[in-house]
Symmetry: C2
Subunit: 131 residues, 2 copies
Amino acid sequence: MLEVLRAADDHPTAAEVYERVRRASPRIGSATVYRTLALLVSTGRALELNLGDGAAARYDANTRRHDHAVCDGCGRAVDIDHPVPDGMMAEIARRSGFAITGYDLQFRGLCPDCQANGSDPARTAGGTGQQ
Amino acid sequence: MLEVLRAADDHPTAAEVYERVRRASPRIGSATVYRTLALLVSTGRALELNLGDGAAARYDANTRRHDHAVCDGCGRAVDIDHPVPDGMMAEIARRSGFAITGYDLQFRGLCPDCQANGSDPARTAGGTGQQ
DNA sequence: GTGATACTGAGAGTCGTTCTCAACCAGCGG
DNA sequence: CCGCTGGTTGAGAACGACTCTCAGTATCAC
Ligand SMILES: [Mn+2]
Ligand SMILES: [Mn+2]
Ligand SMILES: [Zn+2]
Ligand SMILES: [Zn+2]
């Protein structure tokens, strides 16, 4: 299960993880996948990502803190490594009175592929519009 | 409906909007609330917020671009007005190859109330843990 | 009034996720 | 070996947040 996640370069949803794990262990049930993903997340071996569209959570074996750019065309999410400066966090904390422990940041736009393929391509082509 | 949203200083979910609208128009159905919220969002008169927990979408009559700090204790979301510098956006665009059109940013932490009330207070006290 | 048109609320359906529970499996003492 | 016990599992039910469908109703044009 962790292997599947580590082998994934995309950011699979639970359903996609299920599908992939099933290739190795066809008898597994989705409840187990959800349970195991929750365990991996709670023990810090994976991240659960909510990419701000209302869509299903994604899972990420890359537990370094990092952000994502999400394609509005095809749903692809790529890693962005560019931390917000600490000074900004401190400033926010000061102005809001919150004790800030972290942040979630995702950029939206079109990935190179979707820029190339005109207006609404990947969402209508191929699959579900989410990868 | 827009009035209800404009009067709200919190960031209500569709269910909360429904509940409030119902006080003035008890015969309204939730389908109409969802339909109307979608209309307000698509015509730019309200924002739909996905605050990165897996929870229900929030709605916001404040359509200026702004971010939020979300309390891990009680779920409260307060406005943060502190734009990410354009230079950073450009840098991300350059490095990722994405055509970046915007971003979603939310800070997480504890609001002043929840800091005051010890460890796990507001989530167990009072209501549902979401406001 | 009468008919076309748009809007509404109730309820069914969908999707992602969690819960429940009986079957199963490991380890362990006998 | 063998029955017991406690943890895991998978199937399916349940759940929450939406979205869809459809018949009923309000609105307007004549
Ligand atoms: Mn990632
Ligand atoms: Mn706001
Ligand atoms: Zn794309
Ligand atoms: Zn709080």
